[in-house]
């Protein structure tokens, strides 16, 4: 909600040394270390009480169950880094899941690559609609995507008309995609990891990737120095839509039962994961690695609570508390580091 753009100069460095500057520069990485530590604590806590939790098969199960969210979270991270938000991802996943499963139901002999292509294309188109309205018509992203959250889901309902696609309606080959393994790694996890790595690389090593950070950090300045803000913001929404579309097809393949409600409410899960991962909701800071860790942490907490046999009625409250604790800790630590630096400045 914060629209301030001017450089905030809380910490000064009239007398700073190189070492100090280095230390500040490391704060970004400390964040991810902190997330790793949190993850370690959660895993250790659950693992001590229930050693089965640490079994490879269990870890694999946890990763599988968050892989789809992780894919959507990559796109959402791009969007949030540029100081926007995409609330329509759940609806895009749902629409893509239903439409591609329905397509396959109507044409069971269709090449599966085509189905994936279709899902991605559909997602990309929906994301592009968001992007056009935000970048070129100048409407705030939260307004646009709150609108398209309703619209895309409405379209989903309208084409589904109460029907659903069952496991029996689609070829076995489609259903087995999610369960396939490549080099011993479950496909779903592999796909999510590759997407995360590629996105990380692009964010770090492409000019456009850096410009995403610049826009999120100070949109007005970005425009003044000639960054094509509209185009880049558009691209983030396009990519977010595309990844959501892909996630939709994977969703259909994994759950094998798709109706028009699929993935409703997913946007909140995804945003929570990204934010817990240290991505600033006001843009400019954060990383894909962080977002992935955030996703894994929330997935692990959820799974840990289940395996420790918590009452289902406590799950949601603990989940909510975990989100709050994570972001509070992050804020407190960041502020401490900042304060430490100011104190060093003079003496």
């Amino acid at each position: 909600m914060d629209t301030e753009t001017t450089v905030n100069t809380h910490v000064t460095s009239k007398a700073s040394s190189r070492g100090l500057a280095r230390m500040v520069a490391r704060v970004g990485q400390i964040r991810e270390l902190g997330l790793l530590a949190v993850l370690g604590v959660v895993v250790a806590f659950v693992g001590v009480q229930e050693p089965r939790f640490l079994a490879l098969s269990n870890i694999e199960q946890i990763l599988q169950s968050i892989a789809i969210i992780a894919i959507v979270a990559v796109g959402e991270t791009l969007v949030i880094l540029s100081r926007n938000v995409d609330l329509s991802v759940g609806s895009i996943v749902g629409l893509s899941a239903f439409a591609s499963a329905d397509l396959l139901k109507g044409n069971p002999s269709l090449n599966l690559w085509l189905v994936f292509f279709f899902g991605c294309l559909l997602g990309a188109v929906l994301g592009a609609i968001n992007g056009v309205l935000i970048s070129y018509a100048g409407i705030p992203s939260i307004v646009v995507t709150l609108g398209t959250l309703n619209i895309y889901r409405g379209i989903d309902f309208a084409i589904a008309q109460g029907s659903q696609v069952n496991a029996y309606d689609v070829p076995e080959s489609f259903l087995s995609i999610a369960a396939n393994r490549i080099l011993g790694i479950p496909l779903l996890i592999g796909v999510a990891a590759v997407i995360a790595i590629v996105a990380s690389y692009l964010l770090r090593f492409s000019r456009q990737g850096r410009q995403v950070y610049a826009i999120g950090s100070n949109p007005d300045a970005a425009e003044i120095i000639g960054i094509r803000k509209a185009r880049i913001v558009f691209s983030t929404f396009l990519l977010s839509g595309l990844l959501s579309g892909l996630a939709g097809v994977l969703w259909a393949s994994r759950f094998a039962l798709v109706d028009s409600h699929a993935a409703s409410g997913l946007e909140l899960l995804v945003i929570a994961a990204v934010v817990v991962g240290g991505v600033n909701i006001n843009g400019g800071t954060g990383s894909i690695l962080g977002a992935m860790l955030g996703t894994i942490i929330l997935g692990t907490i959820q799974s840990g609570l289940e395996i420790l046999r918590f009452s289902p009625f406590w799950l949601q409250a603990i989940y909510g508390a975990a989100i709050l604790i994570a972001v509070t800790l992050d804020a407190v630590i960041t502020r401490r580091v900042g304060r430490l630096l100011t104190e060093r400045r003079l003496r």
């Binding site: 100069t9 910490v11 009239k14 520069a25 090593f205 950070y213 120095i225 600033n280 003079l346």
Partner: protein
């Protein structure tokens, strides 16, 4: 010295915002290897012209010629490609990114496979920073830098490009005297290399120090362009304001009364330590120091924005603790912040609401309904007294020029009828006419019995206006001088960190 063919020529540039024409048929030429000063009052249209050269705004009519060929600047990157480097009045930096990226954003050196070559970027940045004598390195996050350092990055950015024209919109406003010297050394170097430099400043010493030629704008119109040798300061001023100007700093003597505000041993870790001073009724206490000396921080603590960790504040002999500005205001302290854009104005409010912002409550009846007639009367009064230049008290603050914005901020605080008025860089970025008015106002307020603290990085201003001067360096008070014993050298000495005993 000037070649026949101008490097850049502006022809008949006109720019309108809505139905207000802010530039009327402005034409002048910039030659390679000259420093060209652009001066004018606040709102004369200097920054607008800069933005046109930067490709941020398109002129409504007129053309820009580069090497005699007309060019159309569609966007900032195109201007950059033509070799126009622009330092805007508001730093346009990315606080979350490091120095190197701020300099090279959008132009990062690419290595194999079009991948950003971070190593090379850091090496080049460090080389640049060394040239500028900066004390921070390429990996420092910009968020942690002071305003002056941020300005330095803007300069480094301009140096990193293939620059043919360097445009600097008030680059020295936030710099200390020494930093200005460093900057001018670089400017001279660039001039020698044949770069054309368009330089904007409200400080005449600087203009007469560095410029080769001067162009004066008034109300959006081109008044004159002359070599600096053919102009006197007085001529320039009258060209700017359209009339003769009298004394710049009309300080009136005021009767100095009893101590109103006293600060003892104020300390806040990392900001300032053991700061003590007194201000009396009718007295102007000047705070001198280099940028970053911590004066703003002291002011913020006195005004309750931050809380001191040690020390006491006494008002009329009573110890007070402010946990918020609201409480400080209740004790009739007012603070005009240095960053008016961020801290001073509600940009989407008209002048009238900005002026009455802190006193709404007292303008309201028991139901909380604001008496709009009284509100307008008060705003109009200050509007006239401070000679704010706008279409009326209904104009939105965001569309005012910098100087007029500052006047609105001052008006706002005067409306609270304070006993103690703290002014932080009250004339930064203000044109010469407005500055004189602000000075007149300050000294008039003092004669009315107000206690005034004036923080300023312009030493001549502090010397001329203050009854007493406090010098600060790195968070400590390093000297205190009475009006008659203060001179430029001694105060400067103290501000540089040499502790002197003023008494």
């Amino acid at each position: 010295m000037t070649p026949a063919q101008p490097l850049v020529e502006l022809r008949d540039i006109t720019k309108r915002f809505g139905d207000v024409e802010v530039l009327h048929h402005v034409s002048f030429q910039l030659f390679a290897g000259e420093v060209h000063a652009l001066v004018g009052e606040n709102g004369a249209g200097k920054s607008t012209l800069v933005k046109i050269l930067a490709g941020v705004y398109a002129p409504d009519s007129g053309s820009i010629l580069l090497d005699g060929e007309p060019v159309i600047l569609h966007n900032p990157s195109q201007a950059q490609r033509l070799g126009f480097a622009v330092i805007h009045q508001q730093p346009s930096l990315f606080p979350d990114l490091d120095v190197a990226e701020n300099i090279y954003m959008g132009r990062q050196p690419l290595g194999r496979f079009g991948r950003v070559d971070w190593g090379l970027m850091y090496r080049e940045t460090n080389a640049l920073l060394q040239r500028l004598d900066a004390h921070f390195d390429a990996r420092t996050p910009v968020r942690s830098l002071s305003i002056a350092d941020q300005q330095l990055i803007e300069i480094a950015k301009a140096l990193s490009m293939e620059t043919r024209l360097l445009v600097m919109d008030e680059p020295t406003a936030a710099l200390s005297a020494r930093e200005v010297e460093d900057l001018f050394a670089i400017v001279r170097q660039l001039r020698a290399q044949g770069v054309a430099i368009l330089f904007i400043s409200h400080r005449f010493e600087e203009i007469f120090d560095i410029a080769d030629r001067v162009t004066v704008l008034r109300d959006g119109a081109h008044i004159l362009t002359k070599p600096v040798g053919e102009l006197t300061q007085a001529e320039t001023v009258s060209a700017m304001v359209g009339r003769e100007m009298s004394a710049l700093f009309p300080k009136q003597e005021a009767a100095i009364g009893s101590v109103i505000l006293e600060v003892r041993g104020l300390t806040r870790a990392g900001e300032f330590r053991d700061v003590s001073f007194q201000v009396r009724q009718g007295e102007i206490l000047g705070f001198a120091g280099l940028v970053g000396a911590g004066r703003t921080e002291v002011a913020r603590a006195v005004f309750g924005i931050t809380q001191p960790e040690a020390g006491t504040i006494l008002l009329g002999g009573q110890e007070v603790h402010f946990s918020s500005p609201t409480e400080a205001m209740r004790h009739r302290i007012a603070y005009v912040p240095e960053d008016r854009y961020q801290h001073g104005l509600v940009r989407e409010f008209p002048i009238v609401s900005n002026v009455t912002l802190p006193i709404w409550q007292s303008l309201s009846n028991w139901l909380g309904i604001i008496d709009q007639r009284r509100e307008r009367a008060i705003a109009t009064d200050y509007y006239n007294r401070l000679r704010i230049r706008a279409t009326g008290i209904g104009q939105l603050a965001q569309s005012l020029s910098g100087g007029n914005q500052q006047k609105v901020v001052i008006a706002k605080w005067l409306a609270t009828n304070p006993r103690v008025l703290i002014l932080d860089e009250p004339t930064r970025g203000i044109d010469i006419g407005a500055k004189a008015e602000v000075h007149r106002l300050i000294s008039q307020l003092a004669t009315e019995g107000m206690a005034i603290i004036m923080i300023s990085s312009e030493l001549p201003e502090v010397l001329a206006m203050s009854d007493r001067i406090l010098a600060m360096h790195e968070g400590r008070v390093t000297g205190e001088f009475n009006r008659n014993e203060a001179d430029q050298e001694r105060v400067m000495f103290a501000a540089m960190g040499q502790v002197t005993d003023g008494h």
